[in-house]
Symmetry: C2
Subunit: 391 residues, 2 copies
Amino acid sequence: MRELPFDATDPRLAAAAWSRLVEPGDPAAGTLVAHLGPVEALDWLVGVVRRGEAAGARPWEQAVARWAPRLEHLDVRRELDVLARLGGHLLVPGDPGWPAALDDLGEARPFALWVRGRLAAGPDDGARRQVAVVGARAATTYGQHVAAELAAGMVEAGVAVVSGGAYGIDAAAHRGALGADGHTVAVLAGGVDRLYPAGNSALLEAVVAAGGVVAEVPPGCAPSRSRFLARNRLIAALGAATVVVEAAWRSGALSTAAHAATLARPVGAVPGPVTSMASAGCHRLLREQAAVCVTDAAEVLELVAPAGAHLPEPPAVQPGLLDGLDPRAARVLDALPARASAAVASVARTAGLPVADVRAALGHLELEGRVERDGSAWRRTRPASPRRAGR
Amino acid sequence: MRELPFDATDPRLAAAAWSRLVEPGDPAAGTLVAHLGPVEALDWLVGVVRRGEAAGARPWEQAVARWAPRLEHLDVRRELDVLARLGGHLLVPGDPGWPAALDDLGEARPFALWVRGRLAAGPDDGARRQVAVVGARAATTYGQHVAAELAAGMVEAGVAVVSGGAYGIDAAAHRGALGADGHTVAVLAGGVDRLYPAGNSALLEAVVAAGGVVAEVPPGCAPSRSRFLARNRLIAALGAATVVVEAAWRSGALSTAAHAATLARPVGAVPGPVTSMASAGCHRLLREQAAVCVTDAAEVLELVAPAGAHLPEPPAVQPGLLDGLDPRAARVLDALPARASAAVASVARTAGLPVADVRAALGHLELEGRVERDGSAWRRTRPASPRRAGR
């Protein structure tokens, strides 16, 4: 075991080294670094490996055996050079700009973040709200439309959109945010030097320019399946809430929702046609009451805002014939025939009301212009055609 | 005040008389009849009106004044004649065939039911399950399709479909049940002599023939707005659960759902596109957790069945590359390049696993035919094309 080729007493370099040495979410490494700090933890690891002390089957020896293969070629200066050439920067816990939300992950907190662009829209990042919008790669036109609409509505309310940069819902969410000149962050499963998937590279370049692209693994790392699953915990943690727009019955987006629930963050699910398998995972979340039903940006904002701050207004409804009437008057008006007159006694029988009540109600309705007398009988006022009324 | 022209000491005639005298759901009449029985209550009313005792403003005097206008022309023999000519029959509480479910309404229980066809599919009506399927008149093609599918799936499982005979969702639910040769019941707001709405008269005749059409008001009564709202409590009570398929933000179907909730009956709501205003009421129910999300007949049956009796099966999913593998083997397989070979040390670095673990996992994967040796390196087994495998 040679010496490490970089200054392993530098906490930033040591944190970066841990992000290269172990797979994201490795619980033993998280515990070790949380308790010793990255420098001491690395020093301990190098010593153990050099002395060949980790040959047994005890859990810590297994962990060291897991990490040792990568220790041999470790040189984080290379990865940092790549990041610098791309104009990116490294963030470690405690740095200004480190997202405090990630600290909720406890020992599963990433060792470092490899960032291109900006994670936060402004210097007041702590006060800013971010919401994760995630969903199926195999999204429908409907799902992509809704994801883009939600994202646009969110950024218009000053809420940034976090997603995973994937095809389908993720891409639509990033696009919706960018289209509304909002801030959006893509959390990648692989290194930020390769904007994966390749078909989204132009979109992700735009996310770098207007927002941020971030990974917990250094440049050069491939986006493997286990890294995708581990990455989902970062999306869930960065979002003050997570919204699933479309998801199949089994879907990575559901793992993000589960992480959000574990973190006690609200989860929203967008419903869709029950005939669409792309919505089956969302309906599953709703059915299991693991998510709140959300249908527009206002309802998404309700998930993260103090109750009432973004109360959605009920949609405008055409006023009906009987609107605004007390129940008795409504019953009397309803009892009048549509195109003929009726005597008070007949209206009372039809409405099932006392004659005196019917008389009183007809008087009020007459004042409101809703009924008129026809000799001793009553009839509904014929509504003036709007066209004629205008002339 | 003349004598009543029928035998008012006959409990069946007296109950029928009350169903004509008062508007559905009149709380004072419900209380009175519940405590005195229909015969004594009617005798009391006739006496009070004859003696002119109900001229004041006290609640019971107001109630009598409300009922008196209809007492004058009351002759339920006419309505019973009309019903008999239509081949129908009257049911009063306690009759064989009286739906015990209606007794849950307490004093809001109807005084009588005017029935054409059969309310129950067989003599074991108590054991039979009925579920209410309701929704918007202004339904979409999607909603009508789903309502018919749900109804067909329900009757195939031996569950009858209760609805309101209206255009849109109601009609689709009745049609779906009839199309699957199932039992369905339409609860009308007006008399069963006029199958309302007229555009559904052929459908409702088919419901009479294969199931039943029922009302709590006698023949001759018009379906007024207040009767529609009161009718909804009967639909909710007859169903062991209520499912709302499509409903606008304000919709009569939501009143049925509210009645079901009051009766502690489960409520289901079918989601739809958030872009469809016809689903806004369903999403509102889901959002307010006033309904369970249901997407197919099996999930509707879950609402009324003992837990687990109708457990819906998760949809079939294409098996993936890494399915059925333990996490370590999955990580090793994932770390192998897609189209090249790799040495064990390289796989260990990529996977972040000890070399010994990688060797062990590769051995297992080899036995399963998922990887193969390539000299001292390893590669994924190329899956045989199914076509060639068959030859």
